[in-house]
Symmetry: C2
């Protein structure tokens, strides 16, 4: 079974009251610079500052009353954990997030602020996902995976549905929609929604070059992994291997797959700061980076991009913009 349009439509109706309908803007400078029409979705102003809130809310609202009463558990180093914690708070569900010991203190504080219980693990010696999964099984609680889950994928797909509606209201039709990718849940959900609502729009996956399993999967026709990945500044878009559910959703639906390097991602972050007055994390800026680096074919005249997350350490952001 894989995610179908009907799943996304049902989830969209269910979670809409809980979401920020994030704005879509245009920038005269970006259009002039790229020679295209670029629609920019500010998912950075979503609750908890990232699209991950959509998937978390989709998963949690889809649980049975008994499951909601039992509570949920997740493993995360950042955006997913913050999203699960805040979605749980809003729904009155108890949440535990397993976090690595080296998770930035500010992110742990945000999860606690949303009322989540925090459990720490040593990610160099332990498998945090396994710890969370087995604890969930032991305690009869639902485990919320960041991407390899059909409810989560349907939630992420609501972004494309919302953006297609917003583009139409602006009188625009996207030739290409660029989706920041890692575990494949976001791009998979967006590919399913787009195929239904705007079949002439090509959905493109955008990864960082060091973690480009989706690009390699599209090239090889096999489900590739990132087990040999090297470090990248794009911490939010790193997955050991795209999920099976996401892979099923995106594999025959993408127009293409792109990877941008760290320098391109940082240049895009700096552009967003200076020209769009927006805070974007490196992994949230890869779609913008792909457009700025002119990596799309010329026939893609109108391009949609998603600034999908803005949770970035202040010290690192400061050093990047001041370069």
């Amino acid at each position: 079974m894989s995610v179908a349009w009907a799943d996304i439509a049902a989830v969209r109706a269910r979670i809409a009251p809980h979401l920020v309908e994030t704005p879509v803007i245009r920038s005269a400078n970006l259009d002039a610079l790229t020679g295209r029409r670029v629609l920019i979705k500010l998912e950075t102003v979503q609750h908890t500052g990232a699209f991950k809130f959509r998937g978390a809310m989709a998963k949690l609202t889809g649980l049975s009353p008994e499951q909601q009463l039992a509570g949920v558990i997740a493993y995360s180093t950042g955006n997913h954990g913050m999203a699960v914690a805040e979605a749980a708070r809003r729904l009155g569900i108890a949440a535990t997030v397993v976090v690595p010991l080296d998770t930035p203190a500010v992110k742990v504080a945000r999860m606690r602020e949303s009322g989540a219980e925090i459990a720490q693990c040593d990610r160099f010696k332990e498998n945090g996902e396994e710890i969370a999964r087995s604890r969930a099984a032991r305690e009869g609680r639902a485990f919320v995976h960041p991407f390899d889950d059909e409810a989560v994928i349907a939630g992420q797909g609501t972004l494309a549905a919302e953006m297609i509606d917003q583009a139409r209201a602006m009188g625009e039709s996207m030739d290409a929609l660029l989706v920041n990718s890692a575990g494949g849940g976001f791009v998979g959900g967006c590919a399913v929604a787009t195929a239904q609502l705007s079949p002439t729009t090509g959905v493109w996956s955008v990864e960082c070059t060091a973690w480009d399993a989706i690009r390699r999967s599209i090239a090889s026709g096999r489900h590739e992994d990132n087990l040999a990945a090297t470090p990248s500044v794009c911490d939010a878009i790193q997955a050991r291997k795209p999920g099976a559910a996401g892979y099923a959703a995106f594999k025959d639906r993408l127009a293409g797959a792109i990877a941008v390097n760290d320098a391109q991602a940082i240049a895009a972050l700096r552009y967003a700061f200076e020209r769009l007055r927006l805070v974007v994390e490196p992994g949230g800026a890869v779609g913008l980076a792909a457009v700025l680096a002119n990596m799309l074919p010329p026939e893609a005249r109108t391009i949609g991009i998603v600034l999908c997350g803005g949770n970035v350490d202040a010290e690192r952001f400061a050093s990047w913009i001041a370069q």
Copy 2:
């Protein structure tokens, strides 16, 4: 003669096609922190990154064809000059901006990028406004004042009209609308529009404490100036004296006037970075600062604020967020 609602309505219809309808968002964290409902208008994503584009476009579209052919001239150190240059470019009007020698290079570059001619002056030895005014008279060109001009005030007033409409569409009614103030054009225009469209909304002026002539004018009943002002980080909201046209528009219409200090403005800038993922300049953050510092009466349950500009030097922004 002073600015009337009919002027703002006419200007709004005229400039709407040229503007970004800037989004209004809410933040669950900000509401929880302040115990209020806060509507946040992202004027930072307006063309040229500030509300000044509204006034510039209002002024330039209101010129006769002969005046448009003759071109315009402005004096500015930043947001106003960028706004005039870009509005002129879009309308095919020649523009000259007189800038002080110590204007940040990036702002001069932005004005040049919009096609403006740049003339430099030494603001410690010369009066830049007088240079621009007399050159305009000599060359038969329109001088575009940053705030003491009824067309400009009407343009700035379109922000309040747009925000009131957006609040209604969200099912909200603002008890208070906080407007970042200096020369009085923005708050004057917003006060006139609000009195017409939403008379139960109190319009508040927000200045920085070092440049608080509007607050002192409201207290004394006289048209006060800032001639004795001391330095402040809020460079975008500093005027030697509020304009006569703005004073006429705001003096009997404000619910109150607030001033925030530099530390409060920087704390608001940092909050916007961390929690709203938005880049705001200190002078653009004073309304947010007033709400964060709880400077509004308790009966103001639903408060509108404007993040009115996001043009900030990268090095300074970096130092502020990393504090």
